[in-house]
Each structure stands twice: as structure tokens, then as C-alpha cells.
């Protein structure tokens, strides 16, 4: 304690460190820092000691070894001869996939449910109350297990599609196959010149955004409102469709077909992905609904009354007056919900979805016995992901929040 420099104060006594308000806060902070560092050092020492007692070394070289296990859902090339590091990346991508899909769906579900919960229609409002209370009061793990069990138990198995008079048949003329192992949809097959179609589509998006900006400016200048939705839709799809047919349909669809034990071809969305995605979205959606409801209720009633008095229809009142103001209240708690969803996705292993926890924190950890290293990497990954979501959402929050002039 005596290390604190007290130059210039000739009357300094040790007691002043506690009784003098000028020094007290320093004293407390330094003591707290020392305690904290001691605790950290002791923890670190404990880890080193325990690892030594168990005869374990610390290092990340195991990531370069062959993983020797297979992963069902891979967004990048992977086989059992790939390394543990690659297996970890496959898992990380799977986590990100379900997190992104989940966040989008949870927002859509949440906004709809939140708005409908305030509906004047008694039945709809009550139904939404049941949805919200049902989902947010039951643990998400149970919802995940239930969703996957429902898919597994109620949908037909692939071999029920077999034979001249099968028990089950694909829907929408072969476009959608619902089996208890997952859903199949057609996959696009890119032929020659197909890039042209894609480029035209991307250009259309740009043109559409430009058009909307121009229309908004025009509306602000002249007060005329253009039928935005149909025009946007036309700009978005007409040129693409035109080019698509002019080039002789370069993009074709590959339909799923029953071959051997399973359907082959098309895009396969596994039961675990669907179940996890659905359960996470509905669960988080219930919380989002409450956040949206609170946001809308936070906008004073005078705002909507003023909008009605100006002659705005209810839809426009919601979109132009209420929601923009409600967003300021909605966005900050919504960030937490996105973070929750991302972290809850680590429950994936319960239904056999191979996310980062399943590969890096599961099979890799188990086969190599590197608990410490695997868990540190895993914690690092979730930390980075969560912080990235926070950064993006906080940036968005900055944009929508009230600008004080």
C-alpha cells in the first residue's frame, strides 16, 4: 500500500489512505486490483497444476490431425480424412447458418405476433397471447426435442414413397418432398450463360433501390405517391425473367428422386436443421413479440390519433408513424434476443445437428481429449460471434435512434 506516491503532501499519514476521501478511492481500487490479479493467477496456476497432474500438455497441434469422423451437414467440402480444424469450421458454419436463419424468422414471427397481440380482434389477440406464453414459459430444449420428434414421428419415411401405390407422395408436383428425415426442395442447376441471368437479377435489385429512393424524393417534392409495390416487383423480376427465356432457360431445376434408401438430388434440409430452426425461431419469436408490443405501446396514443386525424389509413399509420418510433425502444432488447438465439443454438447436439458445439466441443473434444483447448476455442468463437452481432445491431440502433437537433 505504501507504494503510492504522495509527493508534495508533507503531512501524509498512512491513515489518510482510508479516511481521506482524496485517496480512499485509489486505495480501494488498488486492493480490488490486487485481489483480482491474485485470483486470476491462482486460477491459472490451478489449471497448469491440474493439467500437469493429469499428465496433459497444452497445445493446438491436434487441430491439424485427421478428424476421422463424418459430418452429415457440410456447407464446405469435408470428409473423414479432413483435419479437426476443418471439422470445426464446418461446425461453425452450421452454427452461423441456423443462427442467421433463426434471427430472420424470429424477427418476422415476433413482429407479426407482437402487432397481432395488440389487435382489436379478441380471438387473434388471445391466440397470440397463448403463443407467447406457451413458448416463452417452456424451456427451448424441450421445444427443440418436440419439433424434431414431431417431424420424425408424423411425416412419412422415405420408403413410404416407394411402389406403384405409395403411402405418401411428393407435394407441389415433385417440388417439395416432406420426409421424416428432412425436407427436399429442387436445387438450381447452373447451365451455360446462367451467370448472365444472375447478373441481371443483381442489377435489378440495384435499379429497384434507386427507383425507391427517387420515388421517395419525388413524393417529398410533389406529394404524389406512386404504387411502389407493383413497380418494385416488376423491376425486380421482369428483366430477369425476360433474359432467362431469351437465353433459352440456362438454369434448370434438379428434382429430388427416391434412389436406394433415401431421396437424392435437390437441396436437403435435415430434420435436425428444420426442427432446431423452427424451435429457436418460435421460442425467440415469443420474446421478440413482447419486445415489439412494448415498443408499440411506448409510442404515445396521441401519435396514432394525430395520424388518423391527418387521414392516414391504419396500415400507413403503423408503418410510417408508429413502427419507426417504436424501433427505438425495440432494437436494444432485440440485440439480446439475437445473442440468446445464437447461444441457444448450441443445444443443437440434442437433435444431432452438428454445430460448433457438436464438432469442436463434441466429437473432436472427445476423440482427442483436449477439453481445455477445445472449450477455449469454442468460448472464443461464441464470444466473437456475439460481439459481432452486438456491433452490427448497435450500429443499426445508432441509425434509428432519435436524432436530437
Amino acid at each position: 500500500m505504501a507504494t503510492i506516491s504522495t509527493s508534495g503532501d508533507t503531512n501524509f499519514r498512512i491513515g489518510m489512505l482510508i479516511y481521506d476521501t482524496r485517496y480512499r478511492s485509489y486505495t480501494i481500487q488498488i486492493i480490488a486490483l490486487i485481489v483480482f490479479m491474485l485470483a486470476a493467477a491462482w486460477l491459472l496456476n490451478n489449471v497448469i497444476q491440474n493439467l500437469a497432474d493429469l499428465g496433459k500438455t497444452f497445445g493446438f497441434s491436434f487441430l491439424g490431425e485427421t478428424a476421422s469422423y463424418d459430418i452429415n451437414q457440410r456447407l464446405i467440402d469435408y470428409s473423414s480424412t479432413s483435419t479437426h480444424a476443418r471439422a470445426a469450421v464446418v461446425g461453425i458454419l452450421n452454427t452461423l447458418l441456423v443462427a442467421i436463419l433463426g434471427c430472420i424468422t424470429a424477427t418476422v414471427v415476433g413482429v407479426i405476433a407482437g402487432v397481432l397481440r395488440l389487435s382489436n380482434n379478441w380471438l387473434i389477440a388471445r391466440l397470440m397471447t397463448i403463443y407467447v406464453e406457451g413458448f416463452r414459459n417452456i424451456p427451448v430444449l424441450i421445444w427443440i426435442l418436440i419439433t424434431v420428434a414431431v417431424i420424425n414421428e408424423t411425416l412419412p419415411a422415405p420408403n413410404q414413397f416407394r411402389g406403384a401405390d405409395p403411402d405418401a407422395s411428393p407435394l407441389l408436383g415433385g417440388m417439395l418432398v416432406l420426409t421424416n428425415r428432412g425436407f427436399y426442395i429442387p436445387a438450381p442447376v447452373m447451365g451455360d450463360m446462367s451467370m448472365a441471368v444472375v447478373i441481371v437479377f443483381l442489377l435489378s435489385i440495384g435499379v429497384m433501390i434507386g427507383f425507391r429512393r427517387w420515388a421517395k424524393k419525388r413524393q417529398e417534392a410533389t406529394g404524389e405517391i406512386l404504387p411502389m409495390f407493383p413497380i418494385s416487383l416488376a423491376i425486380l423480376f421482369l428483366p430477369t425473367i425476360l433474359v432467362f427465356f431469351l437465353l433459352g432457360m440456362p438454369i434448370t431445376l434438379e428434382y429430388p428422386e427416391l434412389k436406394g434408401f433415401n431421396f437424392r438430388g435437390g437441396v436437403f434440409m435435415r430434420d435436425s436443421l428444420i426442427g432446431l430452426w423452427l424451435a429457436l425461431s418460435l421460442y425467440t419469436g415469443a420474446f421478440t413479440a413482447e419486445i415489439v408490443r412494448s415498443g408499440i405501446l411506448a409510442v404515445s396514443k396521441g401519435q396514432s390519433e394525430a395520424a388518423f386525424a391527418l387521414g392516414l389509413r391504419p396500415g400507413r399509420t403503423m408503418n410510417l408513424v408508429i413502427l419507426p418510433q417504436a424501433l427505438r425502444v425495440i432494437v436494444p432488447p432485440l440485440i439480446s434476443q439475437y445473442l440468446n438465439l445464437t447461444k441457444n443454438s448450441s443445444l443443437a447436439i440434442a437433435v444431432g445437428y452438428m454445430d460448433a458445439t457438436g464438432t469442436l466441443g463434441g466429437i473432436t473434444l472427445n476423440q482427442t481429449g483436449r477439453e481445455m483447448e477445445c472449450l477455449m476455442l469454442l468460448m472464443g468463437f461464441y464470444l466473437v460471434t456475439s460481439l459481432s452481432i452486438s456491433v452490427v445491431m448497435n450500429w443499426y440502433n445508432e441509425r434509428v435512434k432519435l436524432r436530437e437537433r
Binding site: 480490488a32 485481489v35 490451478n46 469422423y69 463424418d70 420428434a149 420408403n159 430434420d271
Partner: protein
């Protein structure tokens, strides 16, 4: 300050786990029971009966170990572990010994820091499919959806088998046997693969076991046995010799029924006398009472009796002795001499 509180609490938890590295036998004697890691539930091997009491093949070996130390087969507590959690449970000192259909492999023995102390069941990985699929061989499984327990050697064997045969498959990783069973029965996978004994045990619990077949291929060697933490030779020796004693007991015809009488009256066979503590001081060498093997055998009988009662041909599981027959009767069960 809250954060700091949490750190100190976490540190305290870690400090507790450090203590587990002392001599395990002393720790076990001090707490008065053996903590045994078993499966979360596998018919015949480790399961809780209607009264919530653990029973089964692996469980009986655990009880024999406890009986050898305390003279009481109930001086034991069980920790159900999954394929994934078992090694962490043992390494952290949560359990003293693991009897959980665990395959003896080099990396587990050496790299994970455990000691396998013997083999109580010689097994191999097999496949179970529905009869209605009409599959006759594992080589016909190209493109099949396969349910596997994650964190096991079966996962690795499976990858090797399909790669070696140039076939593709869709793995469905699952945590416990019960979940795998549900997935398989709902037809969410075509095939369930695990050790052949586990398949037979699982099939026995099905409503219609006759509708499912085990394919003839056994694709791996799976010597299943007990394991302990590396670095405590005394504890490893106890675990090994309890198992050996039960095998020798079968060899010498010492059964649950006659063990008390043989221990009291002695036998013409000197090895039986040594086994039962009538001659020599073998118990003392292990740090156990002289009559440790008597108690171990009294717990559930000799190896053959344990096998027959839990998984043998007279039970619903109906496993033949096969490789697990004594060496003198055509199997490979062979315990070193008791002297």
C-alpha cells in the same frame, strides 16, 4: 464485485477437483463408497430396475469391486455417463472407475491419460436394420441413413468402413442409446450401429424384436473393459484383479452358492485357497482385506454367472458366450495365474 465472486467460486470448484489425484483407494475408503461411471441405460449392461436400483452386467462388476474393498456390494454410487461425458467424468475425479462398454484403444490408454485394467466383454461393431428393408449385408448399405452414438469408437469405425468400401452414408449423431432407439424406431434412420452386444440388448427391448435383424458383418474389434485414471497403480491393480478373480473363479468352479463354504472349509486346489484368502497374503499386497475375493464373488457370482444372469442366452438379450467363453472352452477369456 459480482464477477469477482463468480471467479472465486469457480476457483473453489477447481480446487476441489484437484484433490482427486491422491491415492484413489484412500479416498474411496475415506468416503466409504466407490463412485462408478456406467451407461445412462443399456438393457442388460447398466439399467435401473423398477425400484430404482442399478443392475446389469457392467453394474455387477462395479458392485464386485466395491464388495472387494468394503465387503459390501452396496457401498457404491453410480454416475450415469454418456459416450461424450464419460472420459471427462473419470479424468476430473467425478467417478473412481468407469465400467461403461468402453473400447480399449491406444489413444484412450495413452493420450487421454487412462489405464484400461482388463476386458470384461469382447465385442465388435455390428449393424441392425429392419427386416422389411431386405438388406442381407452391410455392403448393401450405400446411401443409408445411419444412427450412431456420438463420442464413441463406432463413429470412427463407421467412417472407415464406408470409406474403405467406397460407399456414402448419412450419419445421424445421437447422445444416448434411448434417443437412438427412438430415432431408429420412428424410421428416421435405416440403420442403427453400435457394439453387437448393445444392438442385441437394444433389440430385446423393442416391442417386436423379430422385425429387426443384425447384419452378419462385424466391422471392428471392441474389447470393452474397465478403466481408471493413469498414475495410480494400486487402484488400477485392484480393478484389474477383481475382474481377474471373477474369471479365475469361473475357471475353478467357485460360484456365488459355494464360495462361502469353500472359504470356510478350504479346497483341495491351492489356487482356490489363494484366491479366497486361505493361503498367502494376496489381499494385503493389494491393500485389501484377505477375503476380498470372497466378497467380490458373493456380490454377483463368478464371471460366467454374471454373464448368464444379465445378458446370457436365458435372458431376453440372449447373447451367446462366443469369444467371452473361457480360454479352456474355446473362448479367449484368460486371466493371469493367481499367485
Amino acid at each position: 464485485m459480482k464477477v469477482k465472486g463468480a471467479i472465486i467460486a469457480a476457483a473453489a470448484v477447481m480446487a476441489v477437483s484437484t484433490a482427486a489425484n491422491a491415492a484413489t483407494l484412500d479416498d474411496v475408503k475415506a468416503k466409504g463408497f466407490v463412485q462408478c461411471g456406467v451407461s445412462t441405460g443399456l438393457a442388460g449392461f447398466a439399467f435401473t430396475d423398477a425400484n430404482g436400483v442399478w443392475d446389469g452386467f457392467d453394474v455387477t462388476f462395479c458392485r464386485a469391486t466395491a464388495a472387494a474393498i468394503f465387503g459390501d456390494a452396496n457401498a457404491i454410487k453410480f454416475t450415469p455417463t454418456t459416450g461424450k461425458t464419460r472420459f471427462t467424468a473419470l479424468a476430473s475425479g467425478e467417478v473412481d472407475i468407469l465400467y461403461r462398454n468402453t473400447t480399449w484403444t491406444l489413444s484412450r490408454d495413452v493420450d487421454l491419460g487412462f489405464t484400461f485394467t482388463g476386458v470384461n466383454y469382447y465385442d465388435g461393431q455390428g449393424f441392425m436394420v429392419r427386416k422389411s428393408l431386405g438388406v442381407k449385408s452391410a455392403k448393401e448399405l450405400d446411401g443409408a441413413t445411419v444412427c450412431i452414438q456420438t463420442g464413441t469408437t463406432t463413429e470412427l469405425n463407421l467412417a472407415d468402413f464406408f470409406r474403405a468400401n467406397g460407399m456414402s452414408y448419412e450419419p445421424v449423431p445421437i447422445e444416448t442409446n434411448a434417443e437412438a432407439q427412438q430415432k431408429y424406431l420412428s424410421n428416421a434412420c435405416d440403420v442403427y450401429t453400435t457394439d453387437a452386444s448393445g444392438l442385441a440388448a437394444t433389440r430385446a427391448t423393442f416391442e417386436k424384436p423379430g422385425e429387426h435383424v443384425l447384419l452378419p458383418e462385424i466391422i471392428s474389434k471392441e474389447p470393452l473393459g474397465p478403466l481408471v485414471r493413469q498414475g495410480d497403480d494400486q487402484w488400477a491393480d485392484i480393478s484389474a484383479w477383481v475382474l481377474n478373480a471373477l474369471i479365475i473363479a469361473e475357471e475353478k468352479g467357485v460360484t456365488k452358492a459355494n464360495v462361502a463354504k469353500l472359504a470356510a472349509d478350504g479346497s483341495a486346489d491351492p489356487e482356490v485357497n489363494r484366491l479366497l484368502g486361505k493361503e498367502g497374503s494376496y489381499g494385503e499386497m493389494l491393500g485389501l482385506p484377505a477375503d476380498w475375493a470372497v466378497h467380490a464373488i458373493s456380490a454377483g457370482g463368478n464371471y460366467g454367472e454374471i454373464f448368464e444372469r444379465n445378458v446370457g442366452e436365458s435372458t431376453a438379450i440372449g447373447l451367446a458366450r462366443g469369444l467371452n467363453q473361457l480360454w479352456s472352452k474355446g473362448g479367449i477369456l484368460y486371466a493371469p495365474p493367481f499367485r
